[in-house]
Amino acid sequence: MPITHTLLAIDWAVFTEKLILIVSVVSASLVVAMYSTYAERKVAAIIQDRRGPNRAGPFGILQPLADGMKLFFKEEIIPNFSSKFLFILGPCLAMLTAIMVGAVIPWGNKIHIFNRDISLQIADINIGILYVFGVVSLGVYGIMIGGWASNNKFSLMGAMRAASQIISYELAMGISIIALLMVTGTLSLKEMVDQQTDHWWNIMKQPLGFLIFLICAFAETNRTPFDLAEAENELVGGYHVEYSSMKLGFYLFAEYINMFLSSAVMVSLYFGGYDIPFVNDISSINTLGVNWLAVLQGACFFAKIACFIFLFMWVRWTIPRFRYDQLMNLGWKILLPLALFNMLVTGALILLKQNHWHF
């Protein structure tokens, strides 16, 4: 049966290389998210003139491990009145959708080992940014299902708040991206990054679009000033009132993974991705070699992401939370028209440029 044989033949080299890449990207996101919790506490402490965690290990570096251990050892309560399957599905979905975004982000250009060029991107799909949006929208289900399955009025209301917030801000986010797509002419994240390595970063072409995207990213990841989903000090706890132990941990952890990956998306879209600033990446291939360049690019990418994560935390410990009506006003009455305006202006300018600046 020769035909089935060829059909079932899997390119094992590609398979292993992708498997290794997937495992490393997932574990990298988990580790970064873990240490984001540590960084958050440290940043909060420093901004508030405190010292932050410094007891577990040197400089408190083992604090995230201790926190994780604590959450695992806590008693796990699944309420009697909850819908058990959905109750467990909620945090799973939140975690899954958070991690899935990492699949389309180009973490570096490529490396050359064993006589093979290996791209440092799990899947270079040509609709990369659409995929990101699709997965991010799925994130609402994690929250909504969690709040619904708890069968508790407060968690349901919290979930409703969170869901309506995320859906409202997705709109402005999408439209701000459309303007960027008109400029770049591609949906693939890899191609966008390649364009930015050769020319200006997209932030230069789309400053307003970036601002809108940034604000929406804060809202999408439920970070202050838009953290009404949780609102620890005025709501009971939002959609995760009934959750305890590691299920609660997963919800909180998913927020940090979201923060990491949305930073990665923002860097890829607007800040040149893995491009090393002020260095001509193409000519430095000759001096450094492909592999070392990939390492440098990866480091550069992570440094940019770290800056964004710091920005997220910095804003969180500066600005108070919005009121719910203010949140909705900002989303629908300001950001959405602004994004439309940005799209319109971008379109007009592109048309003008194609006509060689003649009306």
Binding site: I46, I47, Q48, D49, R50, R51, N54, W314, V315, W317, T318, I319
Partner: protein, 181 residues
Amino acid sequence: MKPVSRKPMTIWERMYLPAILKGMFITFGHIFKKKATINYPEQTRPFSPVFRGLQILNRDEEGRENCTACGLCAVACPAEAITMEAAERKPGEEHLYREEKYAAKYEINMLRCIFCGLCEEACPKDAVYLSETFAPANYQRKGFIYGKPDLLIPHPKEDPEAFAKARGNRAQQPQGHGNEH
């Protein structure tokens, strides 16, 4: 009193972004500020010279206990934290007790003690004084009733270092106590 401004906000103010940026610079400035907190168990703040911590029962230079169980400290104590039992010195115990009478039992209940230092002031023999140790911890309440083994200062001959440390720079020869020889 400053009246509340009811002026409608200008466009610039309603954009909020400048105000947010200003706020962010303020919080950023706090990163470089000196922290008021110290790493407590590793670092401690210096005490004032009149700090009153846990009591210590004193010995003289030859290691003999000063206390004569006169009971003045117990009388002076407003919290009634001190109890003692007196005993007579037997021949051959001269190296242990400085005078003919000594405290066979001397207990201070640290849960009752208010660290006022009146015992130190009442003592005619310079036998009890308040040290700089201040954070007793125990698993049981009875652990807070300090007996003689907990209170006595280390022996100056057998353990001169610990003795010097326990004395610190306080409890130097006090003046005007009337107990100068």
